[in-house]
């Protein structure tokens, strides 16, 4: 075999290196300019259009008790800010919402895992759990008030009832969608039982779980607003829902608009700051996110 030819092993090595070089993808990060043009500019334009339509519509409707001017709403914001109330409203609701969501997470995660893995439990409460998702969470406010009274626990109860089913269902569908190939690969490596759940099932189910969290947050926020609007009590403090209801009882349309905008803004902001990046990170690290 001692000839001038390369040995098969060397040959394989060099061919392989060539193939690898040919087949390796290079992925770059988008530039600042690209992010600006693709991500930031479109919503800014959309916002400008909405404001323009609003300004045009105002003199046509010509009834500030129905449609306040953008300027009036702006000055309501400014006033609330100057009095130092604005952040207070936001904080009252956000802290409630996030804390409630956190409890929902603690309950929904093990619940989802049990429903996904235990056949009997799944048959027993699986359908109820997915049915609950389509029940508007406002429906829970009256019974919660009767059971728990007008206090913070009632708010948290309503958030839990809204968010737990979403979180649990997200995890269940995440687990259901784990490719059997991964489970079998795990088993041949010795990942069975709890090890299998920890090293294979849970990470593989993460995309579904995160989608559930995202939806769970949306439901938490909606449930909380419903609870705050319906359940008025001085001791509860003024959150965004109460602000909205106060605006209505005082026939102060600018305040109503202020509250609606704040509710929308906070809901979107939390999603953009926490859940969307989380989801994108999970998908991107698995190559599931197509750039564009």
């Amino acid at each position: 075999m001692a000839s001038t030819d390369t040995t098969p092993a060397q040959d394989a090595g060099s061919v392989e290196a060539g193939l690898d070089a040919l087949e390796t993808r290079t992925t770059g990060r988008p530039t600042l300019r690209q992010t600006l043009v693709n991500k930031i500019l479109p919503p800014v334009i959309a916002l400008a259009v909405v404001l323009a339509v609003w300004t045009l519509l105002y003199p046509i409707v010509d009834d500030p008790s129905k449609l306040p001017s953008p300027a009036a709403v702006g000055s309501t914001f400014k006033e609330a800010w100057l009095q130092g109330d604005l952040l207070g409203y936001i904080w009252t609701s956000v802290s409630r919402g996030l804390l409630g969501f956190f409890f929902a997470l603690l309950i929904g995660t093990p619940l989802g895992l049990i429903v996904a893995r235990v056949k009997f439990v799944r048959a027993a409460i699986g359908p109820i759990l997915s049915g609950l998702q389509s029940l508007p969470s406002v429906a829970w406010v009256p019974p919660a008030v009767i059971w728990l009274g007008l206090n913070n626990s009632m708010m948290y109860a309503v958030i839990l009832l809204g968010a737990v089913p979403s979180i649990a269902n997200g995890l269940v569908s995440g687990v259901d969608q784990v490719p059997p190939l991964f489970l079998r690969a795990g088993r041949t490596m010795g990942a069975t039982g709890v090890k299998g759940i920890w090293h294979v099932t849970l990470p593989a189910a993460l995309p579904g779980y995160v989608a559930g969290l995202k939806q769970g947050w949306a439901f938490s926020w909606r449930s909380l607003m419903a609870a705050e609007i319906i359940a008025q009590f001085p001791d509860l403090g003024v959150g965004l829902g109460q602000l909205l209801e106060n605006g209505r009882t005082n026939s102060d349309m600018a305040m109503v608009f202020e509250a609606i905008l704040l509710i929308l803004f906070v809901g979107i902001a939390i999603d953009l700051l926490i859940f969307s990046p989380l989801e994108r990170w999970v998908l991107r690290s698995r190559g599931l996110l197509v750039k564009g």
């Binding site: 092993a9 993808r25 079998r184 690969a185 490596m189 010795g190 990942a191």
Partner: protein, 261 residues
Amino acid sequence: MATTTTLAQADESVEYAARLEHVSKSFAGPGGQQLVLDDVSIDVAPGEFVTLLGASGCGKSTLLNLVAGLDRPSTGDIITDGRPALMFQEHALFPWLTAGKNIELALKLRGVPKPDRRTKAEELLELVRLKGAYGKRVHELSGGMRQRVALARALAQESNLLLMDEPFAALDAITRDVLHDEITRIWAETGVSVLFVTHNVREAVRLAQRVILLSSRPGRIAREWTVDIPQPRRIEDAPVAELAREITEELRGEIRRHGQH
């Protein structure tokens, strides 16, 4: 190899990396029980490279699953020396981990202490000639690279038996050629026993010391060839092509028989 096993196991493990005794497997099908494997007996000696050849759907994957312990035979016994490593047709790497972490997971599940895992994983990547791929995500690798990482992960289990289920079927001819050289080299370097499933006759002859032909419906051992062409072989070598032609003839006969009724 197995120094601390019990007597009975040691007895087995010295002689066989895997022993299948009269293994049958049937599945519940639409028309009652469907017999997929019928009375299959195979011994794989330690360090031996055996390829299992058969038409599509003849039960090759079923057989490997049984040997891997993912399923139980309907009748018969399967004895292996420890848990075999299994490489699937699809790479089956975990997309939430990097190439290196995939290998480290196999090491961790085997009980390798944390400080040693990183070096061990890098050694294994070097063995499959993917030195720089430690931090790469699965989707950033090409098909051939993925299969090599999967091979490294299977080797990380340090099983005495490596089961491979058409691992190169989805690759292009050149990449497959290169991986044939690699698997031959790694087999020689590590002394692992290999049971390699394929429906590609030339691939079977290129790699194996012994080729076992499985008939279809039900899968039975039809014939067996010992390949004594010296390594290194190439898939286009005349002796390889010669034997492949003979086996193909036999395989055709097997398949033709099904058309007759």
